[in-house]
């Protein structure tokens, strides 16, 4: 298993500003994953954060909008840049302790509201 601390738990932000979300894991992991969860919709993978290399972004997500840092094997940040109300969502970080995606552990999430 893995214990993941994510902060902030929630924030209300103004349009055009940026928010950085932090994720700390209690053990070293190769990859960390960032998801977005919109009301009534399934979890959508934003990007995979690898230590020592650029993050891998999924279709529809770009580095300029969602820059990611991965300075070591236990920590990652996701920044939501130049926010608009459409960015209002829950953002989750996760790690996979299984062999191929069958054992994901998640942080408690960041509830973001953009006014």
């Amino acid at each position: 298993s893995a214990v993941i601390s994510q902060k902030p738990s929630r924030d209300i932000c103004q349009r055009g500003t940026s928010l950085t979300i932090q994720c700390q894991v209690d053990s070293q992991v190769t990859m960390m994953f960032w998801y977005r969860q919109q009301p009534g919709q399934s979890l959508t993978l934003i990007a995979t954060a690898n230590q020592g290399s650029e993050a891998t972004y999924e279709s529809g997500f770009v580095i300029d909008k969602f820059p990611i840092s991965r300075p070591n094997l236990t920590f990652s940040t996701l920044t939501v840049s130049n926010m608009s109300p459409e960015d209002s969502s829950i953002y989750l970080c996760s790690v996979d302790v299984g062999l191929g995606g069958e054992k994901l552990f998640f942080g408690s999430g960041t509830q973001l509201s953009v006014l």
């Binding site: 009534g40 995979t48 299984g98 191929g100 998640f106 999430g109």
Partner: protein
């Protein structure tokens, strides 16, 4: 058509009832099937995972996979108010990674005392 379909509910049952939560999927290559529980304002928590077809039991929870019908179920016996949460199904390939995980949109369950 979505790759994974899940009835969003909401589903409301009395305490002690047997709950059945279901997902259908379209990609026959999926081999790992997971169920997550998500309490309000919390991240998803892995409940169970199964590989290929068959049943898996863990306490009051039973996961069932029917690959011929592309249908998976989670049964909760003797449901408790503490089971009130949103339940998400997820699935991926046998040689896949978390990048290939596909989630259902979740079923909201309320167990009434």
């Amino acid at each position: 058509q979505k790759e994974v379909e899940q009835d969003p509910g909401p589903l409301s049952v009395p305490e002690g009832a047997i709950v059945s939560l279901n997902c259908t999927y379209s990609n026959s290559a999926f081999q790992y099937f997971m169920w997550y529980r998500q309490y309000s304002r919390k991240g998803p928590e892995l409940l169970m995972y199964t590989y290929s077809s068959g049943n898996k039991e863990d306490g009051r929870f039973t996961a069932q996979v029917d690959k011929s019908s592309k249908y998976i179920s989670l049964f909760i016996r003797d449901s408790q108010p503490s089971d009130s949460a949103t339940y998400l199904c997820a699935m991926t390939f046998s040689s896949g990674s978390a990048r290939q995980l596909t989630f259902g949109s979740g079923t909201q369950l309320t167990v009434l005392p």
